[in-house]
């Protein structure tokens, strides 16, 4: 647990907080990108290089851009006059705080029993690819099918409907 971990954790949490709290929706999307990048760096700290770069490619590269596109297509960048938080915001905050209290209590309670520092596992891209086409081939195929269905579904859902017959 070095200084780097605390810096990365602070960066990630600040990005997440800003993404949730800022008023302008475009600023929220940019803060979300910061949180995703901080998470990618945390993955790299955890010796999961492949997951870290996949995180950068998928989240910083694709999902963040998709969110910005959706904001611009829905004119969501205009801050509403009646406030950005919903009517039941207090209940939501209480639920989130309760969930964090439960998770935090469980972690603090079990902290002494958790495994300590271990040697870094040597994971090569060759090993990951080998595992993907042998042991994890069925999940891989299912994800491929899911992507096909998601692409077709997203296009059909977002496609402009033909003008209804008058």
């Amino acid at each position: 647990m070095g200084v780097i971990f605390y810096l990365l954790a602070a960066l990630t949490l600040a990005g997440g907080l800003a993404a949730v709290l800022l008023k302008n929706t475009v600023h929220c999307a940019l803060a979300l990108t910061v949180a995703f990048a901080g998470l990618a760096l945390l993955f790299l700290r955890l010796d999961a290089q492949f997951a870290g770069f996949a995180q950068i490619l998928v989240y910083v590269g694709a999902v963040a851009i998709l969110v910005v596109f959706a904001i611009l297509l829905t004119r969501g960048s205009e801050t509403p006059t009646e406030g950005v938080f919903s009517r039941s915001w207090f209940v939501g905050l209480v639920i989130a705080a309760a969930v964090f209290a439960a998770l935090g209590a469980a972690i603090v309670e079990s902290a002494p029993a958790l495994p300590g520092e271990t040697a870094a596992p040597s994971v090569t891209v060759l090993g990951i690819g080998d595992a993907l086409v042998t042991r994890y081939v069925l999940p891989l195929e299912i994800v491929a099918l899911l992507f096909t269905a998601a692409i077709i579904g997203a296009v059909i859902v977002a496609m402009r409907e033909k003008e209804r017959a008058k």
């Binding site: 949490l13 949730v20 949180a35 969110v67 919903s86 905050l93 271990t118 596992p121 977002a158």
Partner: protein, 107 residues
């Protein structure tokens, strides 16, 4: 700087905090896109948990938690695409992304 007993506890606490932030965002924001952003933060917190447990678990060479995180990233990407497509479709219909105004099921 040794705030936690083990490094794993530190990562778990960060993930729990990020999950709570995402949940608060998903439950309190008005804009449907911001709710999706909150859901993405929660999914990412779960991924951080998976990677941390894989790294400090008993048998990291088996790649189990690592693969779970990779597949989770893939599924979350598909979810984001479909979710934002739905938001755009609803916006075309109702001309709003305000969830407080989406209070009827009839189109």
């Amino acid at each position: 700087m040794t705030g936690f007993a083990t490094p794993l506890a530190g990562y778990l606490l960060v993930a729990a905090l990020l999950f709570a932030i995402g949940l608060a965002g998903a439950l309190t924001r008005r804009n449907a896109i911001l709710v999706l952003i909150g859901i993405e933060l929660m999914l990412n917190a779960a991924n951080l948990n998976l990677i941390a447990f894989w790294r400090y678990g008993p048998n990291p060479q088996a790649l189990t938690g690592f693969m779970f995180a990779i597949f989770s990233i893939a599924v979350a990407a598909a979810e984001a695409a479909v979710g934002l497509g739905l938001v755009i479709s609803i916006y075309r219909h109702t001309h709003t992304t305000d969830l407080d105004q989406m209070n009827r099921m009839k189109g």
